[in-house]
């Protein structure tokens, strides 16, 4: 049996995009407009964030963090929880580079506008630089290594409040310090009367409807039961906002009848493919205490790569190193002496890299590493290796070297040893967490939406997540997603007279709100 429910605005997804739109429509909700957020993942209690890999990964990530591209050569990590991926990132908060926004060439989208909106959310999320006394050795060594090599590392502004330095950001902060949408925008939205239903998977988008399946909480699951009874619901709405992330939003449209009205969905997928590099020092360093990602090196414009400090957990670390056996174990046993750097390539859109769905409607991500992307990863790996050695490391594990372990005396042969010929998909580990594109902004002849996330030809349907990006952003994306979602919310308010004209609750309070806007 399908249960019908009526709302005025339905938002699919509660991450950086959905959470922001929900908050920005709070004023409408206070005026009587019925706004609903549906989130596929659960709502966790604070005491359920334990920092344990085996417990948290299945609770927070799609497929436990093990979602693979179609050929199995790359792992894609994205959140599936109240707050989406803002629960599992490290809180790094950067404004989109002007050169990238200019390269995107989206009509009506200016860097100045994005910057203004980005700063609004950075202030809201308490973005600041950590004081020097809270920077651990893993980060200090990166800064020192960069300096010795001749690079200029920069400090990441972070959206933290009360960080204790657990280093467990990617497993959901156990101290409620990270100011994701689950801590800021969603509670604000709910306080305004926006309704949020969790464990609710959007199955299909119809003509002003979203079909949703609400799942029962299993006994072993983390999180609260859904706010709605388990079952299938057909939610009728005047406006539908899709914010399920690059893969989630694209797949939802592609498995829906409405896809016939929306060409180009699934195209222009990019993801900043990444390696985790590990280096061994002679003495223990502080690595698994303190914020893990406090500094970065931006070489995107010059060499199409970015390096970031990072610190992962034993399983993720083991998985991301190439090889196995005694050599692999020896490096793992040196965990307290390990320094880590994440290398990210700034990939570009290419026709073969796209999102589709299989016969069951599940997302399939097709991704081929272009020669340019492989070269960027190799350049990044060489740079990171030099930084490691300059910082005093005795050996470096470089995935695109064969064998992958480089000793200190190899430093003069880095360019020879680390080479694209050793980049062998399926053998080396590549992962990505910046998933972008699929519903790109732009002109209707080759894009899905305009610069306010309005889907071309479908005025009641909006997109508000990283799927809007028409190409790679070259930085960590959540602030830009929020800025774009802010525009989407503004567009809904602008169009409210048309979209919501038949809303019964439309009365003087809402007219005042819209007039003020």
């Amino acid at each position: 049996m399908i249960v019908d429910r009526d709302y005025d605005v339905v938002i699919v997804g509660s991450g950086a995009g959905g959470g922001t739109v929900a908050q920005e429509l709070g004023a409408l909700a206070r005026a009587g407009v019925r706004v609903l957020v549906v989130e596929q993942g659960p709502r966790l209690r604070d005491d359920e964030f334990t920092g344990r890999e085996l417990e948290m990964a299945p609770a927070l990530y799609e497929e436990g963090g093990g979602f693979l591209t179609a050929d199995g050569a790359m792992t894609l990590a994205f959140g599936r929880v109240y707050g989406g991926s803002t629960v599992v990132y490290t809180g790094t908060s950067l404004i989109a580079p002007e050169r990238v926004i200019q390269r995107w060439r989206v009509a009506g989208l200016t860097h100045g506008d994005l910057e203004r909106r980005s700063r609004k959310y950075m202030a809201q999320n308490n973005v600041h630089n950590l004081p020097p006394e809270l920077i651990n050795d893993n980060n200090r060594l990166f800064v020192e290594g960069c300096r010795r090599v001749g690079y200029d590392a920069h400090q990441f502004p972070l959206n933290l409040k009360g960080c204790r330095g657990s280093s467990l950001c990617n497993l959901g902060c156990p101290n409620a310090a990270k100011q994701g949408t689950h801590r800021v925008q969603l509670p604000n939205a709910e306080a305004s009367g926006v309704e949020v239903v969790t464990r609710a998977e959007a199955l299909e988008v119809g003509d002003r409807t979203v079909t949703v399946r609400v799942s029962q909480r299993r006994l072993t699951d983390k999180g609260l039961p859904s706010e709605w009874a388990p079952g299938t619901y057909c939610i009728h709405a005047r406006v539908i906002v899709l914010a399920g992330g690059s893969i989630g939003t694209s797949a939802l449209i592609l498995r829906s009848p409405i896809k016939r009205a929306i060409p180009h969905v699934g195209a222009k997928f990019t993801c900043h493919p990444a390696h985790i590099l590990v280096a061994e020092h002679e003495h223990p360093i502080t690595n698994d205490v303190g914020h893990p990602k406090s500094f970065y090196l931006d070489r995107a414009e010059e060499e199409r790569f970015v390096l970031e400090t990072c610190m992962y957990f034993p399983f993720i670390t083991a998985k991301n190193m190439t090889g196995f056996g005694a050599g692999h174990s020896q490096l793992m046993r040196a965990f307290s002496r390990l320094q880590m750097i994440l290398v990210l390539a700034c990939d570009r859109t290419t026709p073969s890299n796209r999102i589709t769905v299989n016969s069951a409607g599940r997302p399939v991500v097709h991704y081929t590493f272009t020669d340019e992307t492989i070269e960027a990863m190799v350049r990044a790996t060489r740079a990171a290796s030099r930084i490691f050695f300059a910082a005093g490391a005795v050996r470096v594990h470089a995935p695109s070297a064969d064998p992958p372990l480089l000793e200190r005396h190899d430093v003069d042969r880095i360019d020879t040893l680390i080479h694209a010929r050793h980049f062998q998909p399926g053998r080396i580990s590549v992962s990505a967490a910046h998933l972008m594109g699929g519903c790109a902004m732009g002109q209707s002849h080759d894009a899905v939406t305009d610069s306010f996330g309005r889907v071309h030809g479908v005025p009641w349907l909006r997109v508000a997540d990283a799927s809007l990006f028409p190409d790679a952003l070259e930085i960590n994306p959540y602030v830009t997603i929020m800025a774009l979602a802010d525009r989407v919310a503004e567009g809904i308010k602008d169009d409210a007279g048309t979209l919501l004209e038949s809303v019964p609750a439309l009365g003087e309070p809402l007219r005042r709100e819209l007039s003020a806007h």
């Binding site: 209690r45 280093s167 998985k319």
Partner: protein, 150 residues
């Protein structure tokens, strides 16, 4: 992977696991059961085809060495097992490399998520962060932001 699917190939899985992580040979029966449970749980929500593919891949690893060594994988010496798995990891066939990558990932998951292993390798992350290392820091009180009941 259900116990029924895993049981017929569990001896092959253990032989591969102790080659991938030599220290796993020291696990007792109870600990090994826990590793297998982690692998089973990781596969439980996946497409059933993935579980069957894993069992098939393990059986292939068992018989492929016969052509070269005249013995199945579980009867090879430790050095022969390592050499054989290295050849699998470097196979020119992408699906073979990918299969081994997936298998080693499951083994790493089963082994390196154990608390005793974390402690043994020096992993000390703690929710109290700096304070747990004797460097207390002053932090503002946490903001209660999640309601506890739906």
């Amino acid at each position: 992977m259900s116990a029924a699917t895993l049981s017929p190939v569990s001896h092959i899985l253990r032989a591969v696991a102790t080659t991938v992580v030599p220290e796993a040979a020291a696990l007792d029966v109870r600990a090994w059961g826990e590793v297998e449970s982690v692998v089973a749980r990781a596969l439980a929500d996946r497409d059933p085809r993935v579980r069957r593919q894993l069992a098939t891949f393990l059986r292939l690893l068992q018989i492929l060495p016969v052509a070269r060594h005249g013995r199945t994988f579980t009867r090879l010496s430790a050095a022969q097992r390592t050499a054989f798995l290295e050849s699998v990891e470097r196979s020119p066939i992408m699906i073979v490399r990918r299969g081994f990558w997936g298998l080693r990932t499951l083994i790493f998951m089963g082994y390196y998520t154990r608390d005793d292993v974390g402690a043994a390798i020096g992993y000390r992350a703690h929710r109290d962060g700096w304070a747990a290392r004797g460097r207390p820091i002053t932090v503002p009180p946490l903001r209660p932001s999640l309601r506890l009941e739906p």
